[in-house]
């Protein structure tokens, strides 16, 4: 059986460093398999968050050779194994231990956002009527598994730590799924412009590139929201039109 070296980030917020582990690898293995094997054989105290091993729970987010990925979907035969494979935690969030970060900031952001506000029901039984084509363009946003890889790769959070002023791509996708919903009645544009900081996004599309669910985050969520914000706050002709209409 072939062997490969994994250079894994070990430690907590006070002191941490990379540690090399050599382990056996076989065809079909993913990075999470190797981490589990190392955890079982060599490092019983290594902290790693995981759940489904199928790319659907979003728990095992990490950076493999510098690229934000789900460890359970990062196949070893796609990586060069003649040199150590680096595995480190997400950089945009505080480190708890080893490969586990504290992502609770994301849930606090979500709590602050205006929730879904549907119009009154269309039928007496309390249900609504929608055309499939009106809901089609927001279906992809519902694929989000909240792995927060898009938040991790976004340089506004990762490099500039603007967590207080910018909600990140994940929550622009969430906002888009509500704003574009055919029966939602809430207006979130002022928050998107001010407290959510959509203007900080400079459209580098890194979030789209790392999304394991292949959601077209930038083109289908962030840019349409930016355009709505322009409609509301930066387009003088639209403003004039609103005054006289």
């Amino acid at each position: 059986m072939a062997k490969a070296t994994f250079r894994i980030w070990r430690g907590d917020a006070n002191a941490a460093q990379f540690v090399d582990y050599e382990t056996e690898v076989a065809e079909g293995m993913v990075v999470l398999d190797a981490i589990h094997r190392i955890q079982a054989d060599q490092a019983n105290d290594m902290a790693v968050r995981w759940n489904c091993k199928a790319g659907k729970c979003g728990s095992c987010s990490a950076e493999v050779n510098g690229n934000p990925k789900l460890m359970c979907m990062a196949r070893l035969n796609d990586l060069p194994l003649d040199e150590p494979v680096t595995v480190e935690p997400m950089r945009a969030f505080p480190l708890i231990k080893d490969l586990v970060t504290d992502v609770s900031w994301n849930f606090k952001v979500k709590e602050k956002m205006k929730p879904f506000a549907p119009r009154p029901p269309d039928a007496e039984d309390g249900t609504w009527r929608m055309e499939q084509e009106d809901i089609d363009h927001i279906q992809e946003f519902r694929k989000c598994i909240e792995c927060f890889l898009c938040q991790d790769v976004c340089h506004v959070l990762r490099e500039h730590d603007l967590h207080e002023e910018f909600i990140g791509p994940r929550f622009f996708v969430y906002a888009a799924s509500l704003e574009m919903h055919p029966i939602d009645t809430e207006n979130r544009l002022e928050e998107l412009k001010d407290s959510d900081g959509i203007g900080y996004c400079n459209i580098t599309k890194c979030c789209t590139k790392v999304c394991p669910e292949h959601i077209t985050i930038t083109d289908n969520a962030i840019i349409p929201l930016k355009e709505r914000v322009v409609d509301e706050f930066y387009d003088p002709i639209k403003k004039l039109f609103r005054v006289f209409s």
Binding site: V19, G199, N202, C206, E227
Partner: protein, 270 residues
């Protein structure tokens, strides 16, 4: 074996643990845009060799004023000769090229590309930046990028004008003071320019928003739904259209300059 290194929050410029050639794409963008900017600047201020027979360089279309020293330019100009009071630095291209260049400069695709390639903001995904402060498009000056839709309106008109230029490029001098129909290599090049610029302009994110982005119920607006779907279709390949149109518009201008200056015989079928 242990490797004491930087903590996760300490960063050096361009630091990354990526092993792939992440620098290739920003370098290619830097080179491609850099060459275009240098060439376009030279051609804009050259102020000559933009006409040959029925061919008008897209850098100089619409030709608002024709320079007197350029033969036949008055036949193509909209408002006659260039006024004498106009400074020499103001060529016909300077008067119009701000619009397509502004459209590209504020384009959502190009913004993301040149922020990486020219400002290293960031250099590439998960690669550290060479500066600490960041304002993005949240405040001045980059908040001005929100003007993009106004450049779009002008760009849509310019695509129509360039299409009319292709029509004019089908009519050649017959030697008896009249014109005769023909298709030259230049005609095909100018037609290709309209196709590529059209694919780029009609796939614009702002146009997509304009035609259907604000409609809550597209099922109730069939015409706008169709338009939205068409723009979305082009928008999915916006980067490809952006580069093809950029290269082709430069090539179209170069072709007109070559036939106007070198005596290169344009292939024409009558």
């Amino acid at each position: 074996m242990t490797h004491p290194e930087l903590t996760l929050t300490e960063r050096r410029p361009f630091q990354t643990r990526r092993r792939d050639t992440w620098w290739v794409q920003p370098l290619a963008v830097f080179t491609g845009l850099g060459i275009f900017i240098l060439y376009a600047t030279f051609r804009v201020f050259e102020g000559a060799h933009f006409l040959h027979g029925p061919y008008l360089s897209p850098f100089y279309s619409p030709l608002l004023f024709g320079p007197k020293e350029v033969a036949h330019s008055l036949e193509h100009s909209w408002f006659g000769a260039m006024p004498d009071w106009m400074p020499a630095l103001i060529t016909p291209a300077v008067l119009i090229l701000w619009a397509p260049l502004g459209f590209r400069f504020t384009c959502y695709y190009y913004r993301g590309a040149y922020y990486k390639a020219f400002w290293a903001d960031p250099p590439s995904c998960s690669v550290s930046e060479p500066r600490n402060n960041y304002r993005g498009e949240h405040s001045f000056p980059l908040i001005i990028q929100n003007i993009h839709r106004y450049f779009l309106y002008v760009a849509l008109i310019i695509v129509c004008i360039l299409a009319y230029d292709v029509w004019k490029a089908l009519w050649f001098d017959d030697g008896n003071g009249g014109t005769t129909f023909g298709i030259g290599l230049g005609t095909l090049i100018l037609a290709g320019n309209v196709v590529f610029l059209g694919g780029y302009t009609f796939g614009c994110h702002s146009l997509r928003h304009l035609v259907g982005g604000t409609v809550g119920l597209l099922s109730k607006a069939p015409v706008r739904r169709q338009a939205y779907n068409c723009v979305s279709c082009l928008n999915r390949r916006h980067m490809l259209w952006a580069w093809m149109s950029l290269c082709w518009v430069g090539f179209s201008d170069l072709y007109v300059r070559i036939v106007a200056t070198t005596g290169f015989e344009d292939w024409i079928t009558f």
